[in-house]
């Protein structure tokens, strides 16, 4: 577990003092030995480390680049020390030397970032995972959430597709809700930020990820708060966990340090689709015809002279699929300056990121800037800001569940049909567009403008008592700009364009009183008290234009039929919260918190929710009786708390409403919209967590284990009501869901030598989700592939279970659950689930001299995937002539005695028309997510160029995947826009395999 160290600052100040003290004597010497001191873990130069000749009082301290010059005679021993690091002795031999110091973890007063402050590592009773930003490098992902995959136990992260800037699935300890949000709360430098896609476009279920507005290079640390004691301070929004993102700040009295980092990468699809060839397709079509009783004389593929389409062997295969894939580039540049004087510190950074999709024509581009500044007005008052601005641009395309999708238009079209018409124009077939026309003419732009800013003043009222006031904004404007010309079917017959602009603005004001005090040696008290007022406003504007004079005009003003619409909504939250912690003798700690939230989304009777938590920890290894045990650390933690959830439901979910815009004849109409439920209230999640932390072998082996038990009741559920009422559902607090699980983190330092270190960390988690109560089953996705029902879990697949294919008739035999002799909806059953039984990551880091090698393996086990590509393309003849076949169709039953699971080709009966278990596959996978090899150029070689550090690296992502899944990629989800659907593959862009080369240089 990487921690945030307060003492770094102290160390720096102390060392700078030494620098001044020693500088005079150092200058007086003549024969110099050169050297550099650096951090063994990060390779960063250590400023202000003390270098002393053993047995003398002669010495110096290292400069800003970690280097020192000291007159030393050969054979003399140097003692190198720095606060917070283990002291080392090195014999001088006249050569320049580089000394790496190990962090002395025991000596530090480690603190952990938690909600609204920090807590001493020793006193923490919660399950908090910190992610080292160093570990986030090497993966060319635009958004920080995607980089966390495999890094934190119990946090399941998966991209919905390989489209850059696309939606990411993030779950902390399972799904707690069905209709309200399951997404964690994201807090960047104290600002609650939006993570809901604002794009109004329907692109086959794809979404955009608002967190891609954040530049990962700005991030100093990420903490993931998982259990109730950690998240109850976030009250009504804490039930799904909290991700705290802290960005980089400068250091006082540190001079100015310029850092430049860049990488360039190329990516490709590890695998592309294959279909049958034209001859095979023609044979399958003919076979269907004959199986269904068609006569030979009307065979579709019979000689042209007989009026047919030609014999199967005369068909030409038209290849389309390779056309839509490309080798895609990624480029990233970040330039920052950081530092500070006596009374201020700053971080100023700018970044540019551009990534192409491996499926044309997708592209993501981001310009970002950050300014973090703190000014010490006087001894007691500090003011400052954390501000980031960004502008992201997406070039999007339809994919996934869309007939106008780029992949779909290449994959589904029968292979015997030509790409071009005889006159050279694009040929379109059945419901699909021409894939080349799409690639060349698609014009779907998304533009996100984001300002996340916070201004604060912090005043120390008394020693240990500070008041902080924060004023924050998350300004998120998203524009969709679409122009469809007449080359693509959605633009027919005369072109159309649309523009929509969504604006979500959150304003937050927060007051925070913090009191930290140590009484004597044994008592430490930590109290915070605060309130926040938050208001979120949403505004939407859309314009469309149809009928353009020609394809040369694209602006809506050029069209003859124009429509416009606006919409707006708002919500507010007022909260009071407090947390208190008490530690006795640095080994017994208790802490508790409470938050009261009032939400505008609920009626006056249930407006306020109160969310308490309580935790305790005991460091057993500090006890006298444990001194002889072979443990450096034994710590027991336990806590329990209640959190809430109100996100994801509409702002007026409790009201009975009639909606306007239901117009007729160009006149304004209204009709009923929503049933009232004045009793609507929060979802509440009760969670308890017990944990054990162990350290062995001088803490070279560390183990952190957690067991948690979450129980969510009063689900904000859209309960289906009888349609005879005119309504389809009403929001009610009904239903209960539980999540129970274990998380295990093991980190080891396998080798720790002067020039070779090897560390390993393994995290693995299991979550068991159960829908404990649900009044009626709820189906999801087209054809009801997914069902939630009492006793089941979220992401259950609901299908007709195919038992076998009758070798005599070739017909599929389905499980007749009610044994009534016919296959009806009563025979549908839950046969599989898209959630993994286990998932986790294995991270290895090896440093040898100046080389570093890191590898991350990520895996999921026991998750199932519904392969809809097979459902549509092993259609058994039901879609002949409009959709081609996957090669799996060739295994169909052909004659009595054939044993196969692929039924006889026929358009009739239910061989191929039912949602069958045949299309569900094991989606377990193990993947080499990333490998990075870096080289840090010795600082001695750099100093003459005024470079303080330089690292170059190459990395690869997704180089190897072990899976039985037959599709392109096991990490897929077609319906990113529906949180209750997961693990469905349908023309989804696969995760790319990529190679990067980069450098990181500081001046």
């Amino acid at each position: 577990m990487q921690t945030y160290t307060i003492s770094k600052l102290v160390r720096l100040l102390f060392s700078l003092g030494l620098l001044l003290a020693f500088s005079g004597s150092a200058l007086a010497q003549s024969a110099l030995t050169q050297g550099t001191v650096k951090d063994a873990k990060t390779g960063e130069p250590l400023i202000g480390a003390r270098v002393q000749i053993k047995g003398t009082d002669k010495g110096t301290v290292t400069g800003v680049d970690g280097s020192f010059n000291l007159p030393v005679e050969n054979g003399q021993t140097l003692i190198i020390s720095s606060l917070g690091y283990t002291l080392r002795e090195v014999k001088a031999d006249g050569q320049p030397i580089t000394i790496a110091l190990q962090e002395d973890t025991k000596a530090l007063e480690e603190v952990v970032v938690v909600g609204y402050g920090t807590q001493s590592q020793k006193a923490v009773s919660s399950a908090v995972t910190s992610v080292n930003p160093q570990e986030l490098k090497g993966i060319p992902a635009p958004s920080p959430d995607q980089l966390l995959q495999g890094k934190a136990s119990g946090v399941q992260i998966a991209a919905a597709s390989g489209t850059p800037g696309g939606g990411i699935f993030v779950r902390i300890r399972g799904n707690t809700s069905i209709n309200a949000s399951n997404e964690p709360l994201y807090v960047v430098d104290g600002v609650f930020i939006n993570n809901q896609s604002l794009s109004g476009l329907s692109l086959g279920g794809q979404t955009t990820n608002p967190l891609a507005d954040l530049n990962p290079a700005d991030i100093e640390s990420i903490e993931i708060l998982k259990d109730a004691n950690a998240t109850a301070i976030y009250g009504a929004r804490g039930a799904n966990g909290v991700v705290l993102i802290t960005t980089k700040r400068g250091k006082t009295n540190a001079g100015t340090r310029i850092n430049f980092q860049t990488y360039f990468g190329v990516a490709e699809a590890p695998k592309i689709y294959e279909t049958v060839n034209a001859q095979q397709e023609a044979e399958l079509i003919n076979e269907t015809h004959l199986n269904d009783g068609g006569s030979l004389s009307t065979l579709p593929f019979r000689p042209r002279s007989e009026g047919g389409l030609g014999l199967p062997e005369e068909q030409t295969t038209y290849s389309r699929i390779p056309d839509v894939f490309q080798t895609a580039t990624t480029q990233s540049y970040d330039l920052s300056a950081s530092g500070g004087g006596e009374s201020n510190r700053f971080f100023l950074g700018g970044g540019y990121f551009k990534q192409e999709g491996i499926v044309k024509p997708a592209e993501f581009e981001r310009f970002s800037g950050r300014f973090n500044y703190d000014h010490l007005v006087n001894k007691r008052l500090t003011i400052g800001t954390s501000t980031s601005i960004s502008y992201s641009k997406r070039n999007q395309s339809r994919n996934d569940d869309s007939a106008q999708g780029v992949i779909n238009s290449a994959l589904y079209v029968p292979t015997y049909l030509p790409v071009f018409n005889e006159d050279g124009s694009y040929a379109r077939h059945s419901i699909f567009d021409n894939h080349l026309a799409l690639i060349e003419n698609l014009n779907i732009q998304g533009e996100s403008s984001r300002l996340i800013s916070n201004l604060y003043g912090e005043y120390e009222i008394l020693d240990g008592l500070t008041l902080k006031s924060n004023w924050s904004i998350d300004y998120n404007a998203y524009a969709d700009k679409v122009y469809n010309n007449t080359q693509i079917s959605v633009g027919l017959p005369a072109g159309n364009a649309s523009r929509s602009e969504s604006k979500l603005v959150t304003l937050i004001n927060e007051q925070l009183l913090t009191y930290n005090k140590r009484f004597g040696n044994d008592h430490f008290l930590n109290v915070i008290l605060g309130n926040t007022v938050q208001q979120t406003k949403y505004n939407f504007l859309s314009l469309t234009g149809r009928n353009f004079p020609s394809d040369n005009f694209q602006e809506i003003a050029s069209s003859s039929l124009q429509t416009a619409s606006t919409n707006s909504s708002q919500n507010g939250l007022i909260s009071f919260f407090s947390r208190a912690g008490y530690t006795f003798k640095d080994r017994y700690s208790i802490d508790g918190s409470v938050r009261a939230d009032a939400s505008s989304r609920f009626g006056a009777s249930n407006r306020w929710g109160v969310f308490p938590s309580l935790g305790a920890s005991w460091i057993i290894s500090e006890e006298a009786f444990a001194r002889d045990l072979p443990f450096d650390l034994i710590k027991l933690r336990a806590n329990i708390g209640v959190t809430g959830n109100q996100n994801g439901i509409n702002d007026f979910a409790s009201l009975g409403l009639w909606r306007a815009g239901r117009n007729y004849e160009g006149l304004p109409g209204i009709s009923h919209q929503q049933l009232a439920n004045p009793d609507l209230k929060w979802e509440t999640t009760r969670q308890w967590n017990i944990g054990l932390d162990l350290g062995l072998l001088q803490n070279r082996l560390r183990v952190e284990a957690n067991y948690y038990n979450k129980y969510t009741k009063d689900l904000l559920l859209e309960v289906p009501v009888a349609a005879k009422t005119g309504f389809s559902s009403v929001f009610e607090n009904l239903g209960e869901i539980s999540n129970k699980g274990v998380e295990l983190n093991i980190s080891t330092t396998n080798i720790e030598r002067e020039d070779l270190t090897w560390t390993t960390s393994l995290n693995i988690a299991r979550n068991v989700n159960k829908i404990e109560k649900l009044p009626i089953p709820i189906n999801q996705h087209s054809r009801d592939w997914v069902r939630m029902e009492e006793g089941g879990s979220v992401y259950d697949f609901w299908v007709y279970k195919q038992l076998y294919v009758d070798p005599q008739t070739g017909d599929a035999v389905y499980d007749d659950v009610d044994q009534n002799g016919s296959i009806t909806v009563a025979d549908r059953q839950i046969v599989a689930n898209a959630s993994p039984d286990f998932f986790g990551g294995l991270n290895n880091t090896v440093r040898y001299k100046n080389f570093d090698l890191g590898a991350l393996i990520y895996g999921e086990y026991g998750n199932e995937i519904l392969n809809l590509n097979r459902y549509f393309m092993e259609h058994g003849g039901t879609r002949n002539g409009s959709i081609s076949y996957l090669p799996g169709q060739l295994n169909r039953w052909q004659q009595p005695g054939d044993v196969t699971n692929m039924p006889r080709l026929t358009k009739k009966g239910n061989n191929y028309t039912l949602p069958s278990s045949r299309f569900i596959e094991d989606g377990s996978f193990l993947r080499l997510r990333s490998v990075t090899l870096g080289y840090t150029v010795p600082s001695a070689a750099l100093s003459k160029y005024k470079i303080s550090s330089l690292r170059v690296y190459v990395s690869g992502t997704n180089l190897w995947t072990l899976t039985n899944y037959s599709g392109l990629d096991p990490e897929v989800n077609v319906a990113g826009n529906n949180q209750n659907v997961r693990g469905i593959d349908h023309a989804v862009v696969p995760q790319p395999r990529s190679f990067q080369a980069g450098l990181n240089v500081s001046f």
Binding site: I431, L467, L573, A723, G726, F727, I776
Partner: protein, 453 residues
């Protein structure tokens, strides 16, 4: 001490600043909606709700395209050629109870019913001096008509259905209302039509319900009930009202808008679009070609003795030597202005033709049939045999009313579905009650499902 006091003042001030304006924050007003209590309170809001009822009627899930589509896919006019196999299931006459279109159409029809129920329940009590008695009656008349049409469409497709006649107030509204029989359902339709007939004035707008529309629907209802005399009586009222005429050429009624042919036509415009064409047109015309005219109807429509000028509803294109035939009764994909032809005059002639033939009035029956043929540029049929004449009416309905969603119900009511469509399982003549309703409605158990599902 003084300093500490000052500091507390700072704190108090900060709290004060942050808490002022809390009421605004916690009590925002919806901007897109009004509360149910404000919905129908005066003349303007009642008229808006009536327009809302038409808007629900013209929804994609009802007359926009899905209700007629389920019928024409189920019959032999149209073949499925797309990717949505929930439509294919109608083409195959193998509809599982969880079919999503079954659910969306059922639910949408009840939306029209609930808005109508609100109007019927609330408009009589409105106190607004701007609302004249004639206006009040017209609103009520239209609401009764829309409810009648809705229950008629439910009845012919599903059989008897739950008859909800009061506005929904909360989720328990309608509790205890079980499935009625088809006869009770049609009785309710008739009762509502009687009310509508007494309230509604004569036709002034073809886009809105009128006395003539009531008569036309009554004629159809009586035809379905095989009450030939009444069917003849009401179709005669429509025909002789002079409010509608058969337009020429045939294609004029669907290429135009609110032509003389229509008795009730739902209209669309650029901002309130009909997407029916999207399902018919091939991708080269901007559609998804989800379905296409069947080989049988292509043959009939192209037969100069049968289709006549009605062949115009077929479009055709040839790519790489392969002909694609598509339906173009709904083709205004650019503007979205294709109409929904709920009631039009040609059907009234064919209703009367059938009713007269059933009453052994061969000559008068043939005369009505030939009115329709004449408009399609066909020569009059001369037949001596009643049953042959009835078959001629059946075929005339096929080509004249093609793709308007009549044939499926026609073949079932005439008992000809098994012969013509080859469906031996009579259970298939009714759609399944949506499985979701069996689950969500405490008044519907598995035993209430139509047999065979």
């Amino acid at each position: 001490m003084k300093k500490i006091l000052t500091n507390y003042k700072v704190l108090a001030l900060a709290l004060l600043v942050s808490l002022s304006g809390c009421d605004n924050i916690l009590e925002p007003e919806p901007r897109l909606d009004v509360s149910t209590a404000q919905a129908i309170t005066d003349k303007r809001s009642a008229e808006a709700a009536l327009l809302g009822a038409y808007s629900e009627l013209q929804s994609n899930n009802y007359y926009g395209f899905e209700y007629p589509a389920l019928a024409y896919l189920s019959a032999d006019e149209v073949d499925w050629s797309g990717s949505y196999n929930f439509y294919q299931q109608f083409d195959l006459n193998a509809i599982p109870a969880e079919n999503s279109s079954i659910k969306s159409v059922w639910s949408q029809i009840y939306r029209v019913i609930n808005v109508s129920n609100n109007l019927i329940g609330k408009v009589p009590a409105i106190e607004d001096r701007n609302l004249t008695e004639a206006q009040r009656q017209k609103i009520l008349g239209e609401a009764y008509f829309l409810r009648a049409l809705s229950y008629f469409d439910l009845g012919r497709a599903w059989g008897g259905v739950p008859l909800v006649l009061k506005p929904t107030i909360d989720k328990n509204s309608g509790a205890g209302i079980k499935r009625a029989t088809l006869q009770q359902t049609y009785e309710q339709v008739l009762a509502d039509l009687d009310q509508a007939e007494s309230f509604l004035p004569s036709l002034t707008s073809r886009a809105r319900a009128s006395k003539e529309a009531v008569w036309a629907l009554k004629a159809r209802l009586y035809l379905y009930q095989q009450n030939w005399a009444k069917a003849e009586e009401y179709s005669t009222l429509v025909i002789s009202s002079g409010k509608a005429s058969l337009v020429k050429p045939y294609s004029a009624f669907y290429t135009g808008k609110l032509t003389e042919e229509s008795i009730l036509e739902l209209v669309y415009d650029n901002s309130d679009r009909n997407s029916h064409a999207n399902y018919w047109l091939p991708s080269s015309k901007g559609g998804r070609y989800e379905w296409k005219p069947s080989a049988g109807i292509i043959e009939d429509l192209r037969n100069p003795q049968v289709g006549g000028s009605r062949g115009a509803v077929l479009g055709s294109q040839v790519d790489n030597g392969k002909e694609t035939v598509y339906g173009q009764k709904y083709s205004k994909i650019a503007t979205g202005e294709d109409g929904a032809f709920v009631l039009r005059l040609a059907e009234q002639y064919l209703i009367r033709a059938e009713a007269r033939l059933k009453q052994n009035n061969l000559l008068a029956g043939l005369s009505d049939l030939n009115e329709v043929r004449k408009r399609a540029d066909l020569t009059p049929l001369v037949l001596a045999d009643l049953s042959a004449a009835l078959l001629a009416v059946e075929q005339e309905r096929e080509v004249e009313l093609a793709f308007e969603g009549h044939r499926w119900f026609d073949l079932i009511r005439t008992g000809r579905a098994e012969t013509v469509l080859g469906i031996s399982d009579q259970n298939k003549f009714l759609f399944p009650i949506p499985n979701s309703e069996i689950l969500a409605d405490p008044d519907l158990g598995p035993e209430d499902q139509n047999p065979g599902y």
